[in-house]
């Protein structure tokens, strides 16, 4: 097989779905793991609005339930990322990527501001639309090659249509759209570090992984 990410170090077999660790995927996996642990132990930032021209300041209060919910979503997002990094099956990969997408929506949607809610809704629509090219790509891979396992596909026995690869990339772009929003002031106006950072990191990771998958196919 062509080894894009290096020789697989070890395999974890779950029936037809074989999880494998190459130096590349292992690095990404550890990165996701470290950040998930950070989210688990860190305390969120507290924002303060300072009134100009005086000594007054307002302390923005985040309710405990909101904090807990966003932390739960971030941890779920981290776990989904770890899964997407190491899975060795095309359809399983698309499922993990959609899980990352919906978790990102959850992280943003918990904020109690109408503007942020609108952003979360628009992003959620893109994530939902992104599942169409994702699943289509996986199904086309299965139909044209007769297998979904990346290890089998890496043997390059059958040519995969270029369209299937392009659809896969497009789908991942749809699911990983969050940072393009998160870069916006509206989204960072919501108090949320380190949870909002989880959105950016997760999409960075899935972009890196999909590059490997495309080269492998």
């Amino acid at each position: 097989m062509n080894e894009i990410g290096g020789t697989p170090l070890f395999f974890l077999e779950f029936g037809d779905i074989v999880v494998y660790f190459t130096p590349f995927t292992l690095t990404l996996f550890i990165l996701a793991l470290i950040f998930t642990v950070f989210v688990l132990v860190s305390r969120p930032e507290r924002q303060i609005d300072i009134a100009f021209g005086g000594d007054a300041f307002y302390d923005k209060v985040i309710s405990l339930s909101e904090l807990r919910f966003r932390r739960f979503m971030s941890i779920a997002c981290g776990l989904a990322c770890m899964g997407a990094m190491v899975t060795g099956d095309v359809f399983d990969f698309t499922l993990f990527v959609s899980l990352v997408g919906i978790c990102n929506v959850g992280i943003v949607a918990a904020v109690k501001s109408r503007h942020v809610q609108n952003a979360a809704y628009q992003y959620g629509l893109v994530a939902l639309a992104g599942t169409v090219p994702l699943f289509s790509a996986a199904a086309m891979v299965a139909a044209t090659t007769g297998t979904l396992s990346m290890l089998e596909l890496a043997k390059n026995a059958v040519e995969i249509p270029l369209a299937a690869r392009a659809l896969l990339v497009l789908g991942v772009m749809g699911e990983g759209m969050a940072p393009f929003y998160a870069a916006k002031a509206e989204m960072f106006r919501a108090p949320g570090a380190p949870y909002v950072i989880m959105c950016s990191l997760s999409s960075l990771l899935i972009f890196l992984r999909v590059a490997e998958v495309i080269l492998l196919l």
Binding site: G15, S98, V105, A109, T131, S136, A139
Partner: protein
């Protein structure tokens, strides 16, 4: 030449139809401005992706459709709830089936019991749907004053049961029967609780 070796087989014809549908849907999404219509159109486009999966035409395709469908439905539910808050729709209490006979007679209880028992006999995914329908019907005809907490705990337990069964399948294959029953009961409980939750969200007691 890319056309080499490829002929217009049934699969390619099917793909042509499915992607034409997707194209129409996406073209409509490009020009649509209303937020609710966008949601409905995306639901429509999802159908095209299910068609592409179905075109594989094996048992595997049937098994892949289920996750594909569930992902679409789940995200749709979350997004419609976000839509409601975003638009600031206060919950206007949906009236129960305000028929006097339903409120006091034992008929809804009997019908729901039959549905739930039948669902449990069927077990699995469809069974969960039928049993859940029975509970939704009961909640609609009576005022529901309990809390969701029990439902959520049951949902969590069923999820854990399912994952546990998965590990039994993977690591103790000789106990496959136990794992099969665990998964079947897990999915039954899960579908029942999810449907009841939707039924409880649907309206509030006056």
């Amino acid at each position: 030449m890319i056309w080499d070796g490829a002929i217009w087989n049934e699969y390619s014809v099917g793909l042509a139809v499915a992607f034409t549908c997707a194209l129409i849907g996406f073209a409509a999404l490009t020009i649509e401005r209303d937020d609710l219509h966008k949601l409905l159109l995306i639901d429509l486009v999802e159908t095209a992706s299910l068609a592409v999966i179905a075109l594989v035409g094996t048992d595997l395709a049937e098994a892949l459709i289920l996750p594909g469908l569930v992902v679409g439905i789940a995200e749709l539910l979350a997004l419609s709830q976000i839509y409601l808050t975003k638009e600031g729709y206060q919950h206007n209490p949906v009236k129960r089936l305000n028929i006097e006979v339903m409120m006091i007679s034992p008929a809804p209880v009997i019908i729901s019991t039959i549905l739930v028992v039948y669902g449990i006999i069927l077990s699995g995914f469809t069974g969960g749907g039928i049993a859940g329908l029975g509970i939704v019907f009961f909640l609609m005809s009576r005022s529901f004053t309990g809390d969701f907490h029990v439902l959520e705990i049951a949902s969590g337990v069923s999820w854990a049961l399912w994952v546990a069964s998965f590990f039994v399948f993977m690591f103790f294959p000789e106990w496959w029967y136990l794992a099969l029953m665990g998964s079947a009961i897990g999915i039954l409980l899960k579908v029942i609780t999810k449907m009841s939750l939707v039924g409880a969200m649907w309206g509030e007691p006056e």
